[in-house]
């Protein structure tokens, strides 16, 4: 395919993905906003005022980056895992497989759709946080970069999950039993400095910790982890998952007989 036809194919997939989650915004955009609002009210206002400052800032301001990133992670993952699995389940993935669109374009299209939803929901949650907290913007470029990288990484995770999924149960196992615990234990609500040395070391194996801290640095200028390491870890994970996804697509795992 030429550059222009490749671009049209990519744009078609991305537009379709964005329209899909926009059409069902009551299921995709609204619930995370409501959930995060409840977090702000309960953990920020009601309990947070009794906890006191953390890392030198009010607790409610401290949890803003983590809550925003939690929404980004779950939504970018959910978008791709549900969209790609439904395409498999209803067989309309075949529309793409019989087309000349190369595998990397198909992957990029789905991942961009996941990034679009992650960034959209994250931005809305960030806007809602302004009602309850006073988030700063320490570094806008870093904040945006972490937004996009985190969305891309978890969109890739959702893609791999969807490739292997054989039932609707299979697309909920990872989010419920892996993603949610890792997110909650990834420093969303606390600094790992509060943990004992053993748990601190263990937390360093949690990839979400790096992203939450990088994002917290972008917003507040605070991080438990050096930002360079956090970004490097994210990029390494993205590269690895991209290669795995392309390999799965080229072998036709989960989509071809």
């Amino acid at each position: 395919m030429s550059v222009s036809t490749t671009w049209i194919a990519y744009r078609t997939i991305v537009t379709k993905e964005i329209l899909r989650f926009a059409r069902i915004w009551m299921q995709t955009v609204l619930p995370p906003v409501i959930t995060t609002t409840l977090y702000f009210i309960i953990f920020g206002r009601l309990i947070g005022s009794r906890i006191g400052p953390m890392g030198g800032v009010d607790y409610i301001n401290y949890i803003v980056p983590g809550l925003v990133l939690m929404a980004v992670i779950t939504n970018s993952y959910a978008n791709v895992v549900s969209s790609f699995y439904q395409a498999k389940f209803q067989h309309h993935i075949e529309e793409l497989l019989v087309s000349p669109a190369p595998n990397w374009v198909i992957l990029a299209g789905f991942i961009s759709g996941g990034v679009a939803r992650g960034v959209t929901v994250g931005s809305v949650v960030l806007a809602v946080s302004c009602v309850f907290a006073e988030p700063h913007l320490h570094s806008i470029p870093l904040t945006l970069l972490v937004f996009v990288l985190t969305s891309a990484l978890f969109a890739l995770g959702g893609f791999i999950n969807a490739v292997y999924a054989n039932s609707f149960d299979d697309i909920t196992i990872i989010p419920n039993f892996v993603l949610t615990p890792l997110t909650y234990l990834g420093g969303v609500f606390y600094s790992i400095d509060l943990l004992s040395p053993f748990w601190q070391q263990l937390s360093l194996f949690n990839p979400i910790l790096y992203m939450v801290n990088a994002f917290r640095y972008g917003l507040l200028g605070l991080s438990d982890i050096p930002v360079g390491i956090a970004l490097a870890m994210t990029l390494i994970f993205i590269t690895a998952l991209t290669l795995v996804s392309l390999r799965l697509l080229s072998k036709g795992v989960g989509v071809k007989t």
């Binding site: 395919m1 030429s2 222009s4 036809t5 490749t6 049209i8 194919a9 744009r11 078609t12 997939i13 379709k16 439904q86 395409a87 209803q90 067989h91 309309h92 075949e94 529309e95 793409l96 497989l97 019989v98 087309s99 000349p100 669109a101 190369p102 072998k251 036709g252 071809k256 007989t257």
Partner: protein
């Protein structure tokens, strides 16, 4: 000197599924450019596997697929550009408006949105679906869904169109209008490969055919050539007055299947005249007459039966297990008497 350019060429194509089932045992096939080609076979013969491999939905085990001289393995994108597929199962997003389904498919082929809508309008109009373009696909009737899949397969103007049972479950009126449409597409130069269980459809539309059974091609010839091999035809005659027994009918192959229903099998050289002479002589009046089986169907069943017998060499082949047409064609032994010769 290079041979003619084939729209499709399969060379020793094999597919063994994970469970060890050999769906294709090394089939080779050439389909000429512009042809209207039937790929026939019973359920589970390997037709859909072959189509799946050609359209990149199934991974082959070995062998080569070439479309208009381009190797599917080496130039998959070039091959996919030439190919349009109408699969057996509905495979569109049921929640998507049908206009969008076509425009998106065109988009995957790199066709700009404005042009894609023009093409969508053209094909949806031709298939009488344009008025429904904003409706989600799930609201369409079965026949409309089949037409939608044809429109979608054509939106990027493929040179080779594969139709896997395109008229399954469609009523006869719509089926015939779809035949006309597909014929028109073929007249415009598009090579068509059709699989169908309606052998009347294949006989009416296709010029050449291959019959696949248990993963092997057991017949590959032109429709005309194949039909000339049919030396006999069976008819069913509705009698005006029921009969308990037939008068003696030496030299004729007759069977009274019900008191008012007479089955006749005639050699093509013999024709129906001797039968009518016999009926006149015996004052048997006929109310109506029809073919017992479609001609291709008759051959198809015979070929499959012969293939099955060849696959089981130890099995005794009784003349009564063979179709009447085949027995007449082979001229084996005495002509079987289906009912006492009176």
């Amino acid at each position: 000197m290079a041979g003619p350019l084939h729209a499709l060429s399969l060379k020793n194509l094999k597919k063994t599924y994970a469970g060890g089932v050999e769906a294709l045992k090394g089939i080779s096939l050439d389909v000429a450019e512009g042809d209207f080609f039937a790929l026939l076979g019973p359920n589970g013969a390997g037709k859909s596997t072959a189509i799946g491999i050609i359209s990149s939905l199934v991974n082959k085990t070995s062998g080569d697929v070439t479309v208009f001289g381009r190797s599917l393995e080496r130039e998959p994108e070039a091959v996919k550009r030439c190919l349009g597929l109408v699969p057996q199962e509905f495979n569109f997003n049921p929640f998507e408006p049908i206009g969008e389904i076509l425009v998106n498919q065109a988009g995957y082929h790199g066709i700009p949105r404005r042009e894609a809508w023009q093409r969508a309008e053209q094909y949806l109009n031709q298939l009488e679906l344009w008025d429904k373009r904003r409706q989600p696909a799930r609201r369409l009737s079965g026949g409309m869904k089949r037409r939608l899949m044809i429109a979608r397969a054509l939106v990027h103007r493929p040179r080779l169109l594969i139709l896997d049972e395109p008229t399954a479950g469609v009523d006869i009126e719509i089926r015939r209008s779809m035949w006309e449409f597909i014929r028109g597409i073929n007249r415009e130069g598009v090579t068509i490969i059709l699989t169908t269980h309606y052998l009347e459809e294949a006989e009416s539309l296709c010029r050449n055919l291959a019959i696949i059974n248990q993963g092997e091609i057991i017949e590959n010839s032109s429709m005309r050539e194949l039909l000339t091999r049919l030396h006999s035809e069976s008819f069913v005659l509705n009698l005006k007055r029921p009969l308990d027994q037939l008068p003696p009918h030496e030299g004729l192959w007759l069977k009274l299947s019900e008191p008012g229903l007479l089955e006749v099998c005639v050699n093509q050289e013999q024709g129906l005249n001797p039968v009518f002479d016999y009926l006149n002589r015996n004052h048997i009046e006929v109310a109506s007459l029809r073919n017992k089986q479609n001609r291709l169907e008759q051959l198809f069943i015979g070929l499959l039966q012969r293939d099955r017998e060849e696959m089981a060499p130890g099995r005794a082949i009784s003349p009564s297990s063979r179709p009447m047409g085949q027995l007449l064609q082979e001229g084996e032994g005495e002509q079987p008497r289906l009912q006492g010769d009176g």
